[in-house]
């Protein structure tokens, strides 16, 4: 319980003396409520508005801009609308399972916040099985989705639910294999331990530690896209084929729960990647103000996560959907073998360079910079060649 949000809130509530059991339980409850209602739920709600605005910019549309300044309160309006809608449960549906499914999906979204490392202090519980807990809990989604698809007694829901289950469980394997390179290099499963093994300089992040980690981080990112049913892997909710996939028969609050969990899982997936490979909350150390340092660490973590969330929105606005056989062959014929190679390569690398290699870190960092520069140059070149005028006004 040292150095966690729970201790911090316990001290604020009951003073510096060691807490007895009831006080500690109260501190845990308050800390959990703070994380849920100050970070998790607002993120999952507001990101819907951000995502719709970002797509609108990508597709040269305006997007929601009526409710509040620049449409900012759209998420609140959507919430109110869902609360005021009738909750329709189809007559022939399996009612108990139908009602239970959204709860499981939301629990799979709520539980990972227990080990979310916001800063060196701000973490609910630094479990020593952190990353294993994270992967285990996020896999609970598949049970809820399958349950929703089956219990609706609707053909679209059934196809959507089964597709979603197949997709999520398939991409668990490459995601799991891509976690191991970071674990092999640190020898711990704790989220804070994984972050503490990295440093704030970008070339000390694990993504640049060796070429295998670089590939593993990319595979992990693509796999989390698939696990969250995001484009180009959004087959379970393919609007043009399956109406709304497993959520076809859902309405009102239950529908809202499904989509809150889905958008919130974007944060969790990005946070896993940031923790394992992108240096987490690491910033330059200074000692004169722990509160300010934690705030800056929190901002650093949040910025990294939000950049990844933006990239996934960007991909959703850009790429077309893959076919189901393509999706399966990407997973089993490319990602799983490459995941094995990454793991073996990292194991050999760790055996011969247990403390890492400065030269390789620098080389990988330079390679990453070169890739980003080449990408930016390509975009600039093709924009100029197509004589397209970029009109960029962020507030419209």
């Amino acid at each position: 319980m040292n150095n966690s949000l729970v201790t911090l809130i316990g001290r604020a509530m009951f003073g510096p003396a060691p807490l007895d059991h009831t006080d500690q339980a109260a501190a845990i409850a308050v800390a959990c409520a703070v994380v849920l209602f100050a970070i998790a739920v607002p993120f999952a709600s507001i990101v819907t508005w951000v995502e719709r605005r970002v797509w609108a910019r990508i597709q040269s549309r305006v997007g929601p801009n009526r409710v509040g300044p620049n449409g900012f309160l759209q998420w609140l309006a959507d919430g109110v609308k869902h609360v005021c809608k009738e909750d329709v449960i189809p007559e022939e549906a399996d009612a108990p399972l139908f009602k239970l499914a959204p709860y499981l999906v939301v629990l799979a979204f709520i539980l990972p916040w227990a080990v979310m490392p916001f800063s060196s202090m701000l973490i609910l519980a630094d479990l020593n099985i952190g990353i294993l807990y994270m992967t285990a809990i996020t896999a609970l989604t598949v049970v809820g989705v399958l349950m929703a698809g089956w219990s609706s007694n609707n053909k679209w829901s059934l196809i959507g639910g089964i597709r979603s289950a197949a997709q999520i469980i398939s991409y668990e394997i490459p995601a799991g294999l891509s976690i191991f390179p970071a674990v092999l290099m640190t020898g711990t499963l704790s989220m804070q331990g994984l972050i503490r093994a990295q440093k704030w300089e970008p070339y000390h992040w694990f993504i640049f530690a060796n070429p295998f980690c670089f590939v593993a981080a990319i595979i992990l990112f693509v796999s989390t896209l698939a696990e969250n049913n995001r484009t180009p892997f959004d087959l379970p909710e393919a609007e043009s084929e399956l109406v709304a996939g497993f959520a076809t028969e859902y309405s009102s609050m239950r529908y809202l729960f499904f989509f809150m969990a889905e958008w919130g899982n974007m944060f969790i997936a990005a946070a896993i990647l940031v923790t394992l490979y992108l240096g987490g909350w690491q910033i330059p150390r200074f000692n004169w103000s722990p509160a300010l340092m934690n705030l800056l660490q929190f901002i650093c973590f949040l910025v990294k996560v939000l950049v990844l969330v933006f990239v996934s929105m960007w991909i959703r606005g850009t790429l077309p959907r893959v076919r189901i056989d393509q999706m399966m062959s990407i997973c089993w014929k490319y990602f799983v073998p490459i995941g094995f190679i990454n793991m073996i390569g990292t194991a050999i690398w760790v055996a011969f360079f247990p403390h890492g290699s400065r030269l390789m870190e620098m080389a990988m960092f330079a390679l990453a910079l070169a890739i980003v520069a080449a990408f930016a140059w390509r975009v600039a070149y093709f924009t100029r060649r197509s004589r397209m005028e970029l009109y960029f006004h962020p507030t419209i």
Partner: protein
Amino acid sequence: MYADYGVPLALVIIGLLFMAAMMGLQKLLAPTNPFRRKLMPYECGEPPTGSAWINFNVRFYLIALVFVIFEVEVAFIYPVATVYLDWIRRGQRWFALSELLIFLFILFVGLVYVWVKRDLEWIKRIPDQDSVN
């Protein structure tokens, strides 16, 4: 140490309370006016034909079986990966490396077997049928 595991429990309780509160609010505010046609399963506006609980593609079962095998083995790698660095630091480099490689080799043979059996292909062609055609 074990008090840390109170946090997931607290999150479950708070999450369930939150959802129950939202459902209660919905019960208070939302109308309820169910009738026969509203409660029919949605099938693009047509009256649905038959039950939706039908047999579906057997590929999904095969994918699930392959998944179970690999996921269990991934779960077995977690402890090995966690102690791997300790072994290296204690100078047992070749022992640690060969142990990990043997385990991964067995896993990889499993993947190759499934691949050669064509169970990773979405549309499986059975050779006999092809020769008949």
